[in-house]
Amino acid sequence: MNRRFHLLLAATACALAVNAQNAAAQTVAVDHARIAENALRGHIQPGYAKLTRALERLETTTQATCKQLTAAEIDVLKAAFTDAILAWGAIAHITFGPIRDSNRYERIFFWLDRKGIARRQVRRALRNTPDAYRSATTLGTRSIGVQGLSAYEQILVTGPFKPEAVDFVCAYAAAIAGNLKAIAQTVARAWADDGAFAKSWRSPSADNPVYLKPHETTFALVKAYVENLERVRDVELLRPLGFATRRRKLPGPYARSKQTMPFLAARISGLHDLILKSGVIAVAHKVAVARNDPVSKQRLDQVGFELNFLTQRAQTLAQTPDFFASEKSREAIALGFPLKAARELARAALADTLELPFGFNSADGD
């Protein structure tokens, strides 16, 4: 009798627990428009505004400072250049939208240049001093390899130049900066409140040329986050660490100016900012709580933890000058696992909670 009573009590308790869980499980409508607006106002517009300002400074600094290409002048130019690549790193993960038109992304960031095409083209330009490279407008119509931040970097690390070449080199550097500024301005205008792409972004519909359904903007953000975390880890970080397939150290982005680690830190911090400012994790968290979905909730908590760690650690490592040539470079190995975890956990939890179409084929087809 006593045993039966206990069994009955246990069964009742189980049933009550299940009922309570079901009663508590609610559906939360995901406000994709809010996420899109948050990302636009809190991350994308400020990111491109910062990039535009940094490139404007690079242009004006180059025009004002570049006269004799003395060591002191080059130091000033390097500081402006570093600001520009950090501003680019913070927004480089927005790989959709107007940055993809007219090869704008590649005109800013032509990397990885595996065959050294751009390096050869810039070297040839410095030798032949073509007039077309003195103007931002005409430079913008030339090969992508001679237009980007890497071309500017090559000017900074090449030299010393013969006195008769300095005039061309400074004009070419200013043209690069001016052309990049114009590209950034065009992209920023398209994302501005009255810009053409911002209008598409804000109003998914059957007639929208880019986004047909509300969740597609959220999907674009999450996809950019996932793909760029993978690229940061598997390409930009593993190469200078010597963990790529070849098992030998290869240059990372902006290695010639010794800015690879600061650039990677900017990339990571930019991706973290995207997640925070868009509110995508916060919304997913609410859904997970409402659904009594402890697995997703735990994954999302872990993503937050990993991103905090990554941002702080990468910034610390970036303080070491020429990090990847230093003895401390092995410390960057510790970024590998959190980068992977921040990607995989976010992808799984966000796909589940926000019902994003990360299908086996649709997300990774061929």
């Binding site: 939208g97 107007p98 084929n361 087809g365």
Partner: protein, 372 residues
């Protein structure tokens, strides 16, 4: 000793030879009944990757395990030999047979090449042609393998483009048509899937004489469509090639994702309704032409849709929606088998009601092919 990825794959390939080719009772009993249609596809399960011969209900008739993700299966309709290829940038392939109980044979590309996931047999079944990446030179090539010599690689010829993907043999038995995707990749960079030449892409459709390796015709896209990577194709009636493309890194501009082509003519884009064209999200996953050769089905996993096109006129006929659909193969009834990453399989009937949708525990991969 450091074992790199390629050595590891080669070791995996050797180990594969010892893997069991499992045949179901139905397959052991002999030729399947006429009601049973057989297909082949690569897939992912809870415990790993495999390729299978299966029927329209999803029942396995033969299974071979794979060391990594597979992509397409080439089937020799004469010998019933099948070869499943590694997904790029993998360098393994596994040959297995439906009709015999022989053990599967694994083979690899040379170390400086990798497969693109597609291949086709010569009309007599003696040779296998596979699209490959000569990644140090950034050029596409067709690897030629001697079937009777255990798939020994006997040569190669260029595809006259970068990133060749799907290919097919024209009914003349001599001409290969190859879709050069135009995208440069390198196995050491970003899992071998990072595009390295978006700014300079030049996709093309190339006809090659398999006897000489000579180019018969080469067709490129206009400058406005250079970001459309030509990927998959099939051949319909009157040697009409139906091609599906994938837009690489564009702001969402609608490019013509489906094209048709006949030797001696220009590439002809298929006009889709605007709303449908946008919903495909710039992505065609797979192409198949019906058994009669007059109807093409093109899947879009990103759009969750199958688009039907009249081969002769290039006219859009209709759409069916299936979540994460990708594999498509002609069915005996002149309809199509559809497979999905969700595990669903369905027969789409050309006329009359669609067959029932079967479910399975597999993530069916990119392609499905009919084993006649």
């Amino acid at each position: 000793m450091v074992i790199d990825r390629r050595q590891l794959l080669q070791l995996g390939g050797v180990a594969l030879a010892g893997h069991a080719l499992t045949l179901s009772d139905r397959a052991r009993a002999g030729t399947p009944s006429s009601a049973v249609q057989l297909f082949a596809a690569a897939r992912k399960g809870r415990t790993g990757y495999s390729a299978a011969i299966f029927d329209q209900t999803g029942q396995d008739h033969a299974v071979v395990s794979l060391p990594a993700r597979g992509h397409d299966v080439a089937v020799c309709q004469r010998t019933k030999q099948c070869v499943v290829f590694a997904r790029r940038p993998g360098n393994f392939a596994v040959a297995f047979s439906v009709a015999r109980r022989s053990a599967p044979v694994s083979f690899t590309t040379p170390p400086d090449r990798h497969f693109y996931g597609h291949g086709t047999f010569s009309s007599d079944g003696s040779l296998l042609f596979a699209t490959e990446n000569d990644f140090e030179a950034a050029r596409g090539c067709i690897g030629v393998y001697d079937v009777k010599r255990g798939f020994h690689r006997v040569g190669e010829f260029p595809t006259h483009g970068i990133g060749p993907h799907d290919l097919a043999l024209l009914p003349d038995g001599q001409t290969l048509v190859v879709a050069n995707g135009g995208v440069e990749t390198h196995p050491d960079i970003g899992r071998g899937r990072t595009s390295l030449n978006l700014a300079t892409m030049e996709p093309s459709l190339v006809y090659i004489d398999t006897r000489t390796g000579d180019v018969i015709e080469r067709h490129t896209l206009p400058a406005s469509s250079r970001r459309l990577s030509l990927r998959h194709l099939d051949i319909g009636q009157r040697r009409t090639v139906v091609i599906g493309g994938q837009v690489k890194a564009s702001s969402g501009r609608t490019l013509p994702l489906i094209l048709t082509h006949r030797l001696g003519t220009d590439l002809a884009p298929v006009t889709l309704p605007n709303k449908l064209a946008r919903s495909l999200r710039g992505y065609i996953s797979s192409v198949a032409v019906s058994a009669a050769g007059d109807l093409a089905a093109l899947t879009s996993s990103r759009g969750g849709a199958v688009v039907f096109v009249d081969v002769a006129s290039g006219r859009y006929l209709g759409t069916r929606h299936v979540q994460d659909v990708s594999g498509v193969a002609p069915a005996a009834t002149d309809g199509f088998l559809l497979t999905s990453g969700t595990g669903a399989l369905a027969i789409h009937e050309r006329s009359g009601p669609d067959g029932p949708v079967a479910t399975s525990a597999w993530h069916w991969d990119n392609h499905a092919v009919r084993v006649r």
